[in-house]
């Protein structure tokens, strides 16, 4: 499912994508809001922008994200 701007998401696991860096481990379990999804072509491999509660805004691969009820 493509992510939409404004959706509440959770970083629920470590990504297997090469763009996952070690410092990102601390974000597992954090909740946030999608602030810039892939606005070009709904590419499931695109990195998308998520603002995490109290932890800043970062680009994540989509395989570590899941939508949570808001």
């Amino acid at each position: 499912m493509p992510f939409r701007r404004g959706q509440h998401v959770e970083i629920y696991r470590k990504s297997e994508d090469e763009s996952w860096e070690e410092y990102m481990d601390q974000y597992i379990g954090c909740h946030g809001i999608i602030t810039d999804p892939d606005t070009a072509k709904n590419d499931p491999t695109a990195l998308i922008e998520v603002s995490l509660n109290e932890k800043g805004t970062h680009r994540f691969p989509q395989d570590c994200l899941r939508v949570i009820e808001s």
Partner: protein, 720 residues
């Protein structure tokens, strides 16, 4: 107090005092102290790695041995002593990224500031706008972002998604406030550059004059570096200039903010391709010690369908928007089809209409629901007359005599993939049809142009075709070469590029100063602690986010004039008053807990405190139940909740929002403050027997005791 017991925080505070005072007078000793401060900040924010402590110790030695400054040895000893006494605490901060005392997160930034990729101190500048201090607001913004006006018009505003006010009604209009204050500061000549540091002799080359490159150039120039920017286009701005249409971002706005960067001594070389017109080797020979690659992602994906390469009327969206930005005013065709569903497709479609095309249709393979473009952009495009053809898969570009005549398409239906649950468009059997067209504009995404960086063969790339960097410090696989912006992220946002440029400038400065790179992305810096705006609870609730006035529809359809006309002064100042000042209230909920569970009053309805499941908030309800006992204020760890007596009233406020004000009752005899009547009733209820002894009079404890005493307790026996 736990906040003051952290030796890391205490050492930083000590260095802060030293740097703000005139104890270190010589430039060299001040520089060493500043570097020490920076490394200690890394430790405090959990950004430090194993190199930090050795680097700090080396700096202490350097400072200690600096004979030029009489106080340098003393300062070095103070820092050394703190480290010696609490060595394990410093290492624990580095290893665990935790501060046991909580002191190192005391100044944790507000959610909006944390969300901003550039880390702008939003609560401070919003409050300054509320006070009418636009020049200071701009100064605060530019500490973290040299493009306040640009971002005020085109930022994707992650800050507003995280704005706590949004959990009550609508987020504070942070973006439009920024645009207002930038425009006002320019028009009142308050928009100025900060003082730059003296020339340090180091030369840095920036490749690409887009938002990332220009931001890095700005912060490096401020630090005293000699910066040269190489740009393939004939002007600065990058995608801001040639990718964003003028009706969203006027050229004057970019030019004004770029001119200020040029004023800092940054040298611009236009119409020059890196690796072609000037080589890496030449630049190194010229003395450039560090390189920042910010070439963006200007190359378009191809459709890969027959006919795509056969007609000059098939022009990719980025090339089309660039041509228009550079002055092209001839329509690509009367009937134009744009292929894609993203923001760039919308920009291309609206641009076609404004140029005078008769019929503009966006063909998108999925449904409206799946369109990745911003909803507001889609709505504005529809208002202006752009048509949409959903579930449309392009199959072939058809034409004759060198001219496009139609786009052959296939109807699609959305089918859920069994393995991924992802819905994908699948062509319908026999669903072929033709859409008549004179021009086709594919807009299906952009990639980085690798050709441009052939000159850097050791540069590592990701599988997405972007430059591989460590995101914490923007270092690439090549020593002395840094990168940021779309070249690293793929097509992303202006504010992310600015944030990346700022991080890279910091990393380049560290590289050339020989200090280690951070292992974590930077934690935004709080630039000030501006007094809050005082607003009654009812006003705070009633104020609504203002609608942005737009240009009339006919003019929108026919010209490139700016569509969003900007807030009026009154709108902006009032909007700033809606801010909750989350830089001060950290939403720990202690006030609510104490009021509800300890005092059993439950007067605070602050449903916005919960991030995932906010419930109703109404500041006005506090005065119905609140007895102004002050327990909430007493237990607030950040002094966000305050209670104070003002003349005849006791006032309870939360970050300036007046939650309750009650008339004070004074002692009938000595006029000492007793508290508001509601509070006194509460006390009487809790201490019924004692209160009745004052005989119904409002008396302070001392006077009540005198009244009920059989003799005058104040006068010693026999003295009268």
């Amino acid at each position: 107090m736990p906040e003051t017991s952290c030796p890391v925080a205490a050492t930083i505070a000590q260095l802060d005092d030293i740097l703000q005072s005139s104890r270190l007078t010589k430039p060299k000793s001040r520089r060493i102290a500043e570097e020490l401060h920076e490394l200690l900040e890394d430790i405090a924010w959990g950004r430090a790695g194993e190199d930090h402590m050795p680097a700090i110790e080396a700096l202490i030695q350097e400072l200690s041995g600096d004979q030029s400054d009489p106080n340098s040895d003393q300062v070095a000893k103070a820092v050394q002593s703190a480290i010696k006494d609490h060595r394990e605490v410093f290492f624990s901060h580095i290893d665990t990224h935790n501060c046991e005392t909580g002191a190192c997160i005391k100044l944790a930034p507000a959610p909006c500031q944390m969300a901003c990729p550039a880390g702008i101190d939003i609560p401070t500048y919003v409050t300054l706008i509320g006070h009418g201090r636009d020049g200071e607001a701009i100064d605060i913004i530019r500490r973290d972002n040299p493009f306040p006006w640009v971002c005020g018009l085109v930022c994707t505003r992650p800050c507003e998604f995280m704005c706590v006010r949004g959990r009550i009604d609508a987020p504070v209009s942070i973006k439009f406030l920024k645009a207002f204050t930038a425009e006002r500061a320019f028009s009142t000549h308050q928009y100025r550059n900060p003082e730059k540091q003296p020339d340090n002799g180091h030369k840095v080359c920036v490749v690409g004059a887009g938002p990332a490159g220009l931001t890095a150039a700005y912060y490096l120039a401020l630090k005293g570096y000699r910066v040269r920017v190489i740009e393939a286009l004939p002007m600065a701005g990058g995608m801001m200039m040639v990718g964003i249409p003028r009706y969203r971002l006027p050229r004057e706005v970019i030019d004004r903010e770029v001119a200020l960067i040029e004023d800092l001594g940054v040298e611009f070389i236009f119409n020059t391709r890196f690796g072609k017109d000037v080589t890496f080797k030449q630049l190194k020979e010229e003395g450039f010690e560090a390189f920042f690659i910010a070439i963006g992602a200007h190359k378009s994906f191809k459709l890969g369908i027959p006919g795509e390469k056969d007609f000059p009327q098939v022009i990719d969206a980025i090339a089309f928007l660039r041509a228009v930005a550079l002055g092209e005013r001839h329509i690509p065709g009367k009937r134009v089809i744009i292929i894609g569903g993203g923001n760039v497709a919308i920009d291309a479609a609206r641009t076609c209409l404004k140029m005078g095309c008769d019929d503009v249709t966006i063909a998108y393979r999925r449904t409206r629901k799946e369109m990745p473009a911003d909803e507001e952009e889609v709505e504005q495009a529809e208002e202006e007359g752009v048509k949409f053809s959903f579930l449309t898969i392009p199959v072939e570009v058809v034409g004759e005599n060198g001219h496009v005549t139609a786009l052959k398409c296939n109807r699609a239906e959305m089918v859920t993939q069994t393995d991924t649950a992802r819905r994908v468009p699948v062509p319908v059997l026999g669903g072929e049809f033709f859409m008549e067209a004179d021009a086709i504009i594919p807009s299906i995404g952009q990639v980085v142009d690798h050709e441009a960086l052939k000159a850097l063969p050791d540069l590592k790339w990701t599988r997405r075709g972007t430059i591989n960097v460590e995101m914490a410090n923007m270092t690439t696989s090549m020593e002395g070469v840094f990168a940021a912006g779309d070249a690293v992220l793929g097509p992303a946002t202006v504010i992310e590029a600015i944030g990346g440029g700022k991080k890279a400038a910091d990393a380049i400065d560290r590289y050339l100063s020989g200090i280690p790179q951070p292992k974590m992305p930077p934690v935004p810096v709080r630039r000030a602690r501006t007094p809050w705006l005082e607003v009654p609870a009812s006003t705070k609730m009633i104020l609504k986010r203002p609608e942005m006035p737009l240009l009339g529809i006919d003019r929108r359809r026919t010209t490139f004039q700016q569509v969003e006309l900007g807030y009026s002064e009154n709108m902006a100042r009032e909007e700033a008053r809606r801010c909750l000042r989350c830089d001060i209230c950290r939403r720990c909920g202690e006030c609510v807990r104490v009021c509800r569970d300890e005092m059993k009053i439950d007067a605070l309805q602050l449903g916005y405190l919960d991030f995932d499941h906010p419930v109703k908030t109404d500041f006005r309800l506090t005065e119905e139940r609140c007895i102004t006992c002050g327990a909430c204020a007493k237990n607030c760890p950040n002094e966000a909740m305050q209670i104070e007596d003002r003349e005849n009233e006791r006032v309870l406020s939360l970050c300036g929002t007046i939650l309750n004000r009650q008339k004070l009752v004074f002692c009938e005899k000595c006029h000492a403050v007793l508290g508001p009547a509601k509070y006194l009733d509460y006390i009487r209820k809790m201490t019924g027997g004692i209160a009745q002894m004052s005989g119904g009079h409002a008396l302070c404890e001392k006077c009540a005791r005198q009244k009920i005493a059989a003799f005058d307790t104040l006068t010693p026996p026999g003295s009268g």
